[in-house]
């Protein structure tokens, strides 16, 4: 058995173990413990840490750090991640890797101190101007958060792409058992600036053949879509209703599905772990006679729901109604989800798609 650790601290430690060279960030609840922990832990481990003047500045620090080939991490929440978006899209243009943790707080604008899932669209669609995608991974336990942060640095380097860990305040603040992977010491990547002009004019944004770059971007996204879909599925083969939920709601709904199946109800769950790429392959094992798809999110209107409907169509379930259970903010209560599920089954709720 591992130690009881708070989600935010566990993710900070996982980054150290994954060989992170530098952290740049600005505090915001409920993500601050990631940086508070790294403020001393990075130094202890011989790594670097900078507290920036704001999240935007932190992201341009990340951009610089990536350009010399370091493993770099930033963490924030909601509107803090909004401030970073110009830097994020510059990094996409340069094909630079980095890991960005969003410990999501619920709401628009300043948002709230409640946990939430209101940032799904921004994270899965890129967030800044242009046409790029970040790989987005979402854990539902502290252990999974550790494992995904550890993996995120490798994926980020493999595809030269930002990887977002999209988690929620509830998970960042939660204490759970977890075991850490071993500490890695990773050298700076050799494709990066070394001061010697080894790689010529790279990345040269003004002078590239834009068509060729666009085609390459497409190839990269297709490759990631093919290789990096991750999910957990229970009971979908015979399910009359398949529930979709990620992160903390994913965990709640797993419990609900487990209980219902014990009572003999034909219900299943798909818990996406990669939100981009969305795990469309998960549809391949779903019962062809399924009656409905239901997305449960701690958001006001269905954000992931749109992806569920989109990939349902792609996978031949175009006529299956897609419902939404809106459960903002915090952690969805089982009773509330069950009541809404019953109402859907009773035909009292209109499908969204």
């Amino acid at each position: 058995m591992g130690d009881m650790v708070k989600g935010n601290i566990a993710m900070g430690e996982a980054a150290i173990r994954a060989g992170m060279h530098i952290y740049c960030g600005y505090p915001i609840t409920p993500s601050s413990e990631v940086m508070e922990y790294l403020s001393w832990r990075a130094q202890e481990a011989g790594r670097q840490f900078i507290q920036a003047a704001n999240e935007g500045e932190a992201m341009y620090m990340v951009y610089g750090a990536a350009s010399v080939g370091s493993r770099v991490l930033t963490a924030s929440s909601g509107l803090g991640i909004s401030l970073k978006q110009e830097g994020v899209t510059y990094m996409a243009a340069a094909d630079y890797p980095a890991v960005m943790i969003n410990v999501c707080r619920y709401g628009d604008g300043l948002g709230s101190l409640e946990s939430g899932q209101t940032d799904y669209k921004r994270e899965t669609r890129g967030g800044g101007n242009g046409d790029y995608r970040n790989i987005v991974l979402s854990p539902s336990t502290v252990q999974e958060a550790v494992d995904l942060v550890y993996l995120a640095f490798d994926l980020s380097e493999k595809y030269r792409n930002i990887v977002v860990i999209l988690t929620e305040g509830a998970l960042g603040q939660m204490m759970e058992d977890c075991e850490y992977p071993p500490v890695k010491e990773v050298p700076f990547y050799d494709w990066a600036f070394d001061g010697k002009y080894t790689h010529g004019p790279y990345p040269s944004q003004m002078a590239v053949d834009l068509h060729a770059k666009g085609m390459k971007n497409n190839e990269k996204r297709a490759l990631i879509t093919e290789n990096e879909q991750r999910w957990e599925a229970v009971g979908v083969e015979d399910a009359e209703y398949v529930l979709f939920a990620y992160g903390i709601p994913g965990r709640v709904v797993l419990g609900i599905v487990d209980e219902l199946r014990k009572k003999g109800e034909k219900v299943g769950i798909i818990r996406p772990i990669s939100l981009w790429p969305f795990p469309q392959k998960a549809f391949d094992s779903i019962n062809k006679n399924v009656k409905g798809f239901i997305s449960i999110e701690t958001a006001d209107s269905g954000q992931m729901l749109e992806d569920v409907a989109l990939y349902a169509k792609k996978k031949g379930f175009g006529n299956v109604p897609c419902y939404f259970i809106s459960s903002p903010p915090g952690v969805p209560k089982s009773k509330y989800v069950l009541e809404n599920f019953e109402a859907i089954k009773a035909g009292k709720v209109k499908e969204v798609f």
Binding site: Q48, Y60, S204, M206, A207
Partner: protein, 246 residues
């Protein structure tokens, strides 16, 4: 006959600035200093967004494509992760003092050990000559067509003085290009600024008063005269701060 001087090896070709533009001279001085200090193969230049975006592909050194105004932040991590590399942030005044004011000041505030070259041409050259915080009172630009009204937009900004007097940095100076003697002085400031970085003394910044004949609507010669008569009285030349080497 005037003696010709060989161009620095790392300048691949002439950067296509407008005729009479100060950028070309400043880039040349920067590259000469890098070469003379022996850093041709251990240097990174932060490229801004502005006319100096044209540096792309014309210099055979690592050139970081910065976001508009944000190189104060990006050069911070580059220098911290590569402390032996000479890191030079080449920025226009709009980039460095308008949109990038926060990043510029915060890097100086933290005394980050890289060198800023800030090209003060009193407008946003690249985008058609809009007003910059450095534009002079009454100066006509494409966003102050009746002349800059300082009642509404503030007096021209003097960032070098702010940094020199407020923060614990190593070296701050302001140079100009209107005579060969001034060009040589400016070069000596740039070199001392780089030396302060190499010696690990701290942050350094050199502002250069630079003509933009295209957007000023003046000939190259008249542009130089404007610098002498209108700009130098407000933007005094010389070393503002020199903490000295180690």
């Amino acid at each position: 006959m005037a003696k010709g001087k060989k161009a620095p090896e790392k300048i691949l070709r002439q950067v296509p600035f407008c005729p009479g533009c100060g950028h070309g001279i400043i880039v040349r001085l920067v590259m000469e200093c890098i070469e003379e200090l022996g850093y041709n193969d251990n240097v990174l230049i932060g490229k801004p967004v502005g006319c100096a975006s044209l540096l792309d592909n014309n210099l055979a050194v690592d050139t970081f494509t910065g976001a508009h105004g944000r190189n104060g932040a990006s050069m911070t991590t580059i220098k911290r992760l590569k402390p032996d590399m000479l890191v030079v942030s080449y920025q226009g005044d709009g980039d460095c003092y308008n949109i990038g004011f926060s990043e510029t000041m915060n890097a100086a505030y933290r005394n980050e050990k890289f060198t800023v070259i800030a090209v003060n041409n009193g407008n946003f050259g690249m985008t058609g000559g809009q007003m910059a915080w450095t534009s002079m009172p009454g100066q006509k630009t494409s966003t102050s067509v009746n002349g800059r009204n300082v009642e509404l937009s503030g007096m021209p900004i003097r960032v070098p003085e702010m940094i020199a007097h407020s923060f614990d940095t190593a070296y701050v100076a302001r140079g100009a290009l209107f005579t060969p003697a001034e060009i040589n002085k400016t070069k000596s400031y740039i070199k001392k600024a780089m030396q302060a970085q190499i010696d690990g003394v701290g942050h350094s910044l050199v502002e250069v008063l630079s003509p933009c004949p295209t957007n000023w609507g003046l000939t190259p010669l008249a542009s130089m005269e404007r610098i002498v008569n209108e700009l130098v009285p407000y933007f005094p030349l010389g070393e503002i701060k020199n903490k000295g080497g180690k």
